[in-house]
Symmetry: C2
Subunit: 329 residues, 2 copies
């Protein structure tokens, strides 16, 4: 596990220069500051690491894929800026969110600007024009899907219950597609054939689902200090996570069900109430169920890499999939 964290940290450090390089200062200052804040702050930077690893795993020159890695990270950050505003979250990575610090309009514009810059970086990728075009197709389709997934999430928060399948479709769209676009793009830049690009794309789609499911688990049972945000907010929003969907199906005791439902979607639920709901889900086996399901996705993700040649990058991709399930942040 330490290995993955170390490699992620190394990749992240390597990216710092480029994160700044593609966002040189321009006017107006407040937009620039708002645009660079999240990319500069870092976070796990799993997506760019995946771009580079996928490029390396197919025998490509990782150096060349760095701008794409940065572009994918910008896109991720653009969606975070917009999501934080939509969700009304005031903290991200321990920092004040953009809309709180600079106002809603600037949050919208900083996201738009970051998206535009990401695509401009892609337009200038140092690969044959035809490869750039394929990368562009998969990335633009991913952002379209991201918006759809995020909208489904917004729709689901209105207390409306969704099926497990619907929820998984939502997280495929709002999380997996960008992982997958980055990984596939990295593989394309590395000169992979169509079959390898597809395998890597599927690997990242499955990994993304596992990652998001485990994120939901952490959002319930994780350490608020390590996470840098409060837990239980999915419950407060009445979000149909795998755990909630499982619990609603499997709680047999009507009294407990009533108690659970009284907290679900209660936007101002207290810490005590959240802990009660958490206990109920744990007792119903819902947390274990979510972890088991995410583990299954992880295994399926790793299996997709079977026909890639052995390499450090392939090893890292496997370890990354395992890490998605073993992290505490």
């Amino acid at each position: 596990m330490t290995d993955v964290k170390d490699i992620l940290a190394k990749y992240s450090k390597d990216l710092d220069t480029y994160i700044e390089k593609f966002l040189p200062p321009e006017k107006p200052d407040n937009l620039m500051a708002a645009t660079i804040q999240y990319p500069r702050a870092g976070g796990k930077r799993m997506r760019p690491a995946m771009v580079l690893a996928a490029c390396g795993a197919v025998g490509g020159d990782k150096e060349k894929a760095i701008p794409l890695a940065v572009a994918i990270e910008y896109i991720h950050n653009f969606t975070l800026i917009h999501d934080d505003y939509m969700d009304g979250d005031d903290k991200r990575r321990g920092m004040t969110t953009i809309h709180v610090k600079y106002g809603g309009p600037t949050a919208i514009l900083a996201g738009d600007a970051l998206f535009a810059r990401a695509l401009e970086v892609i337009a200038k990728l140092d690969v044959p024009d035809s490869v750039m075009r394929e990368v562009l197709k998969v990335v633009t389709r991913a952002v379209w899907d991201l918006a759809r997934g995020q909208q489904m999430d917004v729709n689901n928060e209105n207390g409306q219950e969704v099926t497990m399948d619907e929820y998984i479709e939502t997280i495929r769209l709002k999380t997996s597609v960008l992982f997958a676009a980055g990984a596939a793009g990295g593989a394309m830049m590395g000169g992979a054939d169509k079959k390898a690009v597809e395998a890597i794309h599927e690997y990242a789609m499955l990994l993304g689902v596992a990652f998001q499911m485990f994120d939901d688990v952490l959002g319930l049972i994780g350490d608020p200090v390590k996470l840098g945000k409060s837990v239980g907010n999915d419950v407060r929003k009445g979000k149909s996570t795998v755990m909630v969907t499982h619990a609603l199906k499997n709680i047999k005791d009507q009294k407990i069900m009533k108690e659970f439902r009284s907290v679900l979607g209660k936007i101002d639920a207290s810490e005590d109430e959240i802990q009660k709901a958490r206990k109920i889900m744990e007792n119903a086996g819902s947390v274990d169920f979510a972890i088991a399901m995410a583990t299954d996705y992880t295994k399926r993700a790793i299996a997709k890499l079977d026909h890639l040649k052995q390499s450090d990058d392939k090893k890292f991709m496997i370890a990354l999939a395992e890490y998605a399930m073993k992290r505490d942040v």
Copy 2:
């Protein structure tokens, strides 16, 4: 003038099918409805017309440029969705705006989705990969600049006075760059050489400034019914339009100046107060000044087309520049 309107209307009708074609229904329904509403509603569609005319004026096949025309219109509409939300406007083209109808989060996501789709359409343009790459560069740079211009506009609304030059730089960014990217992109798709692309780019930059200046004029002295929106809002927001900047410099009577300043930036100014401020600006020659300045930009725009061969498309581009100054909506 009738000619330009007719040609715009014809282009607009030709585009209808494609506007729908590149946004086929997907899930979720509310996002799709929010995404298609503005593009479907039409408006003047000057930007796509300019893409097509620029392509034709350099001898290209306009049919091929249709997807780019649609993409530029999607981008324009994405910025309108976001702007309306930022500005808190509740009407656009006589319709309820997206954030009012579907909520703020959906407005943000619909804009993001529309931008993503625009770039996906560009990724699939039926031109050599190298041409597509050049089009992508100019378009992505334009959206980056649009965000900067919009942010300057937001910053300027805080009552802070800006110089005439600063204001013109703002409207170059928030309006001209997308006109110019569309026109240059159309020319590129038509196979224009670098010199012709540049001339057409400059034409559209200048036209954009004239267009926005005259838009500001209409926003003060236009007919609210024809415009489909109330007038005087720039005054209420204390925006440093050319007229306001001119008036602040040229009003000599201190009593009148005091009266003018008492309305400027008064967000709840009454219809009467707005009319008073308008009269003051008219008396100070500020409205005439703005019209003269816009006319000058129009002339300079048209001059940029000098070395293009005569054609119906060139004629239309000239007429379009003149129309920018003679419209009532």
